[in-house]
């Protein structure tokens, strides 16, 4: 498999504070890669660098094209759906309006209709709540809305920032099942940032562990899961 997304020696920070000290990683086309690490290790910052939310040096390539100096709007229109920390739900708008924002840049109306069917098949609750304000959704439903909206962007790559945060285990299970389905059925690659390492290693094929702005460990998810010392030192379970 060829790399869909590649980061080479990416450094960045907020003002004088440096957060990433040279991060290199790659996501294969159609693969699921998890990015693990403690709070403050730089996981969210890595995702924000990819979609142009923070200035960076080094190199980031998506589908062979450098993302340097590209504005966020163009990067996401180019096929990267980023579900940010806190889910990025527009709570002043209805569920339907949130979904429409996901597909508003697309021209293929037939494809959009098919994707709506798919989203409502994965998350039937969203169809029931279409007319309601997104602020009335529970945390799990908001996460479903965020993932469904990302799917409507028809992306080649999804960046998911802690989809399990604050959700009941059973809800997390079902959302992860659907992430796996989206990956397999819709051939969408996923870069998954998670604190819940056990779950992330189950769903992903490759994993990276970030430690204060550097990649400390990289390998096949199955190997990391089986490696006791890695597990104890970095993954905390």
């Amino acid at each position: 498999m060829t790399a869909l997304l590649e980061l080479e020696e990416v450094r960045c920070g907020y003002g004088p504070t440096s957060v990433l000290h040279g991060v290199s990683l790659s996501v294969p086309d159609g693969g699921i890669v998890s990015l693990l690490g403690a709070n403050g290790a730089g996981k969210t910052t890595t995702l924000r660098a990819i979609t142009g939310g923070v200035p960076w040096t080094g190199e980031i390539r998506f589908a062979g094209q450098s993302l340097r100096h590209k504005p966020t709007e163009d990067i996401v229109r180019g096929g990267i759906a980023h579900v940010p920390e806190g889910r990025g739900i527009l709570t002043e708008l209805t569920v339907d309006e949130n979904l429409r924002l996901g597909e508003h840049t697309r021209k293929d109306r037939a494809g959009v209709r098919k994707d709506y069917d798919r989203v409502f098949e994965y998350f039937p609750v969203l169809r029931e709540r279409r007319k309601l304000s997104a602020s009335t959704l529970s945390g799990g439903e908001q996460q479903m809305l965020a993932v469904g909206r990302a799917l409507l962007m028809s992306p080649r790559l999804m960046l998911l920032d802690e989809p399990s945060l604050g959700l009941a285990p059973i809800v997390v299970r079902s959302i992860f099942e659907i992430i796996r389905t989206i990956n397999e059925a819709d051939h969408v690659a996923v870069l998954l940032v998670e604190q819940n390492a056990r779950l992330a290693l189950e769903i992903s094929t490759q994993a990276y562990v970030l430690e204060v702005g550097r990649i400390a460990v990289h390998g096949a998810s199955a190997d990391l899961k089986g490696n006791d010392s890695v597990r104890r030192s970095y993954l905390g379970y």
Partner: protein
């Protein structure tokens, strides 16, 4: 009773004018959390453009939409040229910039068009029509109709179109909207363009009642502030309702209680009263802040 109804009707007409300008204020406030102190001057300048077109023989009903189009373009250009460079600056900086803009536009209008008041004729006669025993002038009725059409058009644009959806999204959640491919910076410029056009409606409507000169909008903007604050500064619907309430209240209190000279004081009393008693206005969202 008849006179009372007539006062209410002409209050609604003034209210429509205030509502248009208040809506312009709300559009920009929503987009960037900023009260645009230049809104009235922008409307005044647009009215001079309409006046110039009409006095060069252009039909009123062509000059009107043409002016709104030009006002829209002017609003976009002002945002690109003046606001964009300070987009990320603190609000106080932006406020000072809009105050400077107000002075600049006022001076430019004086320089280009002079300070002599101009009579701006309306195609609608001041004759009255008898509606159920009360008399209303065609002019008041036309102001109500035009304001109503503009406000409904803006409502439909914001609520029923994809462009309106992205405008609202960009206004409420710029970061999240950017991640969905919304061109937030352009949405700000479009917001300025829309506000400028809506504000121009108020200028063109009020010019036949007052006289057209560079300081024409300086009292109107106070009424518009009162309307916007009363409605809740971030609510388009609130701006419309607030405009109508302010228009009718000021007219009635002016006619029956304090007299015409103190009408502006009534508007200021409304502003202060709302800020003290109900700072979020009638339709505003409670301001939440993380501490």
């Amino acid at each position: 009773m008849q006179e009372f109804i007539q006062q209410v009707v002409s209050g609604i007409a003034s209210g429509g004018i205030f509502a248009s300008l208040a809506l312009a204020l709300v559009l920009i406030y929503n987009a960037m959390g900023l009260v645009n102190f230049a809104q009235g001057e922008m409307a005044m300048f647009a009215t001079f453009i309409a006046y110039t077109l009409i006095s060069h023989g252009v039909n009123y009903f062509i000059a009107f939409p043409l002016t709104l189009g030009l006002a829209f373009i002017g609003g976009v250009l002002i945002e690109r040229a003046v606001i964009r460079p300070v987009e990320r600056a603190p609000v106080l900086t932006l406020v000072i910039v809009t105050l400077g803009l107000a002075t600049l536009i006022n001076g430019a209008a004086g320089f280009l068009f002079g300070y002599t008041p101009n009579y701006f004729s309306s195609p609608f006669s001041a004759h009255t029509v008898n509606i159920l025993g009360a008399f209303a002038s065609y002019q008041d009725l036309s102001v109500i109709a035009v304001s109503g059409i503009v406000l409904v058009a803006i409502y439909l644009l914001l609520q029923r179109t994809t462009l309106g959806l992205t405008l609202r999204a960009a206004a409420h959640h710029p970061e999240a909207s950017r991640l969905l491919g919304v061109r937030v910076s352009w949405m700000l410029a479009l917001g300025w363009g829309l506000a400028s056009a809506v504000g121009a409606v108020s200028g063109i409507m009020v010019a036949p009642i007052l006289l057209l000169e560079p300081n024409m909008m300086q009292t109107i903007i106070i009424y518009a502030f009162a309307a916007a604050v009363l409605g809740g500064i971030d609510s388009p619907l609130g701006a419309v309702v607030g405009g109508l309430i302010v228009g009718v209240t000021v007219n009635l209190v002016g006619a029956y209680v304090v007299g015409g000279d103190l009408e502006l004081a009534v508007a200021l009393a409304i502003i202060i009263g709302v800020l003290v008693i109900k700072p979020n206005g009638l339709f505003g969202r409670a301001a939440a802040r993380n501490v």
